[in-house]
C-alpha cells in the first residue's frame, strides 16, 4: 500500500481531515483523563479499613442525660451482648466510614508551636479493640492499666496509644516509633504499639497518604464517652443481629433516640460513604461511551461521504486492475493516518487537561499507559467505524468508470 497517493488525496480535503483529527484529539484527551479519574476513584474505594468489616456493626444513640452516660453504657453493653448472635459489644467513639469523625492536629513538639499532621482519634474500651481486630506490627497491645478515664470530654491526660504504620512514618519517618511521644492541645500520648491498617472514618479529601492517619486511644468510657457502640457477630448473622439490636434499643434504654443515619453495618457504612464516587464513576463511564459513539458516527458519516464522492475514481481504479482488497485497504489506511494525526494532537491536549485537573483535584501526573491504551482504543474504533463505508467502497463495480457521474 502506498501512502503517497492517500496523502495527496487528503491534502485536497484538508478541512474535513483536520476536523476528524481534531475530534479524535479531543476524544483522546477526554478519554485518557476520564479513565484516569475512574481508576483513581476505584483505587480510593478499595481502601483497606484495617477492621473486620463484615463482622462489625456500629450503633449510635443520642438524647441521654450526660450525667447518666456511664449507666447508659453499662445497660447498652449488657443489653446488646445478651442478644442472640451477638459475640461481643463495646464502647467505641467511631468506626471507619462512619460520618462521625474525631480529627485533631497532633504535634511532636512539646511546646505545640506547630501542628505536624491531622489524625483521627479512635477512643474505645478493651472489648471494642478486640472486636476491631487490628493487626499489631510491633510493640504491644494496651494492658488493663492503659485504659484510662477521659478528661474534658476529650482524651485521657496521658494516653498509651496504638498508631498506624502510615502515621508513625509521617511523624517520625525512619525512626523507631515505639515509645515516642506526641501532643494534642496539651494532652500527651505515648506510642506503645504499631498497627498495620486502620482507616480514618472519612478517608477521602484530606490529601493523599492521610487515609490511615489513625490513633487508637484506650479509654475507660465512664461518663465522658457514651452513645456509640460496636457489636460483633458472625458475618452471615450480622444483618439480622443488627436489625434485632435496633429493635431492642427502646427496651434496653427507653430514653435514647437511635441515630439511623450514622448507624449501620460497617460494610453498609462503607457502601454509603462511597456512593457518590460510584455515581461519579457511572457518569464518567457514560461520558466515555457517548464520546466513543459520537466519534464513531462522525467517522462513519464522513467516510460515507468520501466513498460516494469518489465512486467514479474507485471504479476507474477497479477497472485498471485494483482488487477489492486494495480499495478496502485504501480507506482503512486513510483512516489510520487521520486517527494517528488526531492522537498526536490528543496527547498534547491530554497533558494540558491533566495539568488543569491537577490544580483543582487530587490527581497526579497522567501515566503514559493511559495514553497508549487510549491510542489503541481510538485506532480500533476508527477501523471499526470505517469498515462499513470501506466495504461499500470495495463493492463499487468497475463498470462505474464507464458511466458519467
Amino acid at each position: 500500500m502506498q501512502i503517497g497517493p492517500i496523502l495527496t488525496a487528503l491534502r485536497r480535503h484538508r478541512v474535513a481531515t483536520f476536523l476528524i483529527a481534531l475530534e479524535i484529539a479531543l476524544a483522546c484527551a477526554v478519554l485518557c483523563n476520564a479513565c484516569f479519574l475512574i481508576v483513581n476513584r476505584i483505587e480510593s474505594m478499595r481502601i483497606t479499613s484495617g477492621v473486620d468489616e463484615k463482622a462489625l456493626a456500629y450503633i449510635a444513640v443520642d438524647g441521654y442525660a450526660p450525667e447518666h452516660a456511664g449507666d447508659l453504657n453499662a445497660r447498652m453493653v449488657a443489653g446488646l451482648s445478651a442478644l442472640p448472635g451477638v459475640k461481643a459489644a463495646g464502647v467505641l467513639n467511631t468506626v471507619p466510614f462512619s460520618p462521625r469523625q474525631f480529627i485533631n492536629g497532633v504535634t511532636t513538639d512539646p511546646a505545640g508551636q506547630h501542628y505536624d499532621h491531622i489524625a483521627n482519634m479512635y477512643n474505645g474500651d478493651a472489648a471494642s479493640l478486640r472486636m476491631l481486630g487490628v493487626r499489631l506490627l510491633a510493640g504491644r497491645m494496651p494492658t488493663q492499666d492503659d485504659y484510662r478515664p477521659i478528661e474534658n470530654n476529650f482524651e485521657p491526660k496521658e494516653s498509651m496509644v496504638l498508631v498506624t504504620r502510615s502515621l508513625a512514618d509521617a511523624l517520625w519517618s525512619r525512626e523507631d516509633p515505639l515509645g515516642k511521644e506526641f501532643w494534642c492541645v496539651g494532652f500527651h500520648f505515648r506510642v506503645i504499639g504499631i498497627i498495620d491498617h486502620l482507616a480514618i472514618p472519612q478517608p477521602e479529601g484530606r490529601g493523599a497518604g492521610t487515609e490511615e492517619f489513625s490513633v487508637f486511644v484506650p479509654v475507660k468510657p465512664e461518663n465522658q464517652l457514651a452513645g456509640t457502640y460496636v457489636i460483633q457477630a458472625a458475618p452471615q448473622d450480622l444483618p439480622r443481629v443488627f436489625r434485632e439490636a435496633v429493635l431492642a434499643i427502646p427496651r434496653i434504654a427507653p430514653e435514647v433516640v437511635f441515630d439511623h443515619e450514622d448507624s449501620g453495618l460497617v460494610s453498609d457504612l462503607r457502601e454509603r460513604y462511597f456512593r457518590s464516587d460510584r455515581s461519579m464513576i457511572g457518569i464518567l463511564s457514560g461520558v466515555i461511551l457517548a464520546l466513543m459513539l459520537v466519534t464513531a458516527l462522525g467517522i462513519v458519516g464522513l467516510a460515507s461521504f468520501w466513498v460516494q464522492q469518489r465512486r467514479r475514481q474507485i471504479g476507474i481504479r477497479r477497472a485498471i486492475g485494483a482488487t477489492r482488497a486494495d480499495i478496502l485497504r485504501y480507506f482503512q489506511t486513510e483512516n489510520f493516518l487521520i486517527v494517528t494525526l488526531g492522537i498526536l494532537i490528543g496527547v498534547l491536549l491530554a497533558y494540558a487537561l491533566n495539568i488543569v485537573l491537577m490544580k483543582v483535584y487530587e490527581v497526579t501526573h497522567l501515566p503514559v499507559a493511559y495514553l497508549l491504551a487510549s491510542a489503541m482504543v481510538l485506532w480500533a474504533l476508527g477501523q471499526l467505524a470505517v469498515l462499513g463505508p470501506a466495504l461499500r467502497a470495495a463493492a463499487v463495480p468497475p463498470v462505474v468508470a464507464t458511466r458519467s457521474a
Partner: protein, 434 residues
Amino acid sequence: MFAYYFDLAFRSLKRNKALTALMVLAIALGIGACMTTLTVLHVLSGDPLPQRSGSLYYPQIDPRDMVDYGPNVEPPEQLSWVDGMYLLHAKRAARQALMTGGMVPLQPTQSTVDPFQAVALYTSSDFFPMFGVPFKYGTGWVDTEDEGKARVAVISASLNDKLFGGKNSVGQVLRLQETAFRIIGVLGDWHPNPHFYEWYMGSYASDEDVYLPLTTARDLKMEHDGSTDCWGNSGGDPEHLETVNCTWLQFWVQLDTPASVADYKSFLEHYSQDQHTAGRFLRPPNVRLRNLMQWLDYLQVVPSDTRLQMWLSLGFLAVCLINTVGLMLAKFMRRASELSVRRALGASQRALFGQLLIESGVVGLLGGLGGLLLALFGLWLVRQQPADYAELARMDIAMLLTTLIIAVGASLIAGLLPAWRACHVAPALQLKGN
C-alpha cells in the same frame, strides 16, 4: 424568503435522513449532557435570598494564637462564644444573629410518632427578620427571650405537619431533650438553597425542624454539631464551650449601605486591635467582611464533582459540534451541483449562505429539542443520585430557553464554515461536470 428557505431546509434534510439523523443526534447528545450539568450548576450556585443577599454580610475575625501564623492567612470561618456574644450585643449592624446547628432528641407527646433526632438551629432573635423568614402561624422570639433563656421554639412547616397535622400549633408544648418548650411560631415555605447560614449540616436541602434561642440551648447543654476549631491548650470540652479557645458559632449581619459596611469593617478592626492590645488576640487584626455571595464563593459550596461534570460535558459538546461541522461539510459539499444551479439562475452567494445557515439552524433546533428531552432525562437521573442536592435538580424556564438558544447558536456556528465553503463553489465547473 425566510419561509422559503425553511421549506428548502426541511426538504434537504428529508432527502438524506441518515445524515440528518446523525447530526441531530450528535447535537442532541452534546446539548443534553451540557444542559444537565449546567442546570445542576445553576441550581447549586444560585442566590438563596435574591432580594436580601446584597445586604447580608459574614464578619470574620482572627482570635487565634501564633501557631502556624503566616501572612495572608484567612481568619477562622467561625467565631468563639466570647467574640460572638460581644459582636451580637454591640448591635453595630442594622440586624445581627449568632447561630450554630445541632441535633436534638425530640420526644413527641403524640404516641403515634416515635422519638427522633430533630435538626435544630440555635440562634438569636434577629435571625427571622434579618433573613425575611416567612411565618405561617405566630412569630419568632424577641431579645428579652434570648436574654431570659426562654423555653420557646419555632418549628418548620414540615414538622408542624408531622406532629400537628398542619394545624396552628402555637401555644402547644414540644418536648426536646426532656424539656418542655412552648411553640411560638410555625414557619411558612422556607428553603434557602444553598443553605448559606449554616453549612456544616449540609450545604443543600438541609432544612431545620426546630429553631431555639442559642442561650436556651447552651443553658440546657444541647449538643452542637458541626465544626469546633480550637487552639492553645484548652481542648474542645463541649460542656464549657462558652470559655474555651474554640470557634464554633456563625454570625451574620445586615448592612444596608456601603457606608455602614465600611463602618462595620473598621469596627471589627478596632475590636481586634483592642483585643490584641489587651493580649487576648495574639495575632494582629485580621478581619474579613464578605457578603453572602462572596461568602458562598469562598466556602466553595458547589461540589467539585459538579464542576468536573460540567467541564466534561462542555468537552463532550465540543466533540459533538466538531462532528456536526464535519457532517455538515459533507452534506453541503454533496449538494454542490444543486447550489451551482441556483447560482447560475441568479442567486447571490449571500443568499446561498443564508439558506445553508438556516438549514444548520433547523438542525440545531431539532437537536436542541432532542437535547432538551435528554437533559430532562439526565436531570431525572441526577435526582436518583444520593447527593443532598439531588432533589433540587430541576429545569426552570430560564434554563429551558438557554438550552434552545445554545443549541441553535452552536449549530449556526457549526454551520458557518461548511456554508461558507459550499457557497463558494464555481458554478460553471459544477454544471459542466453534469
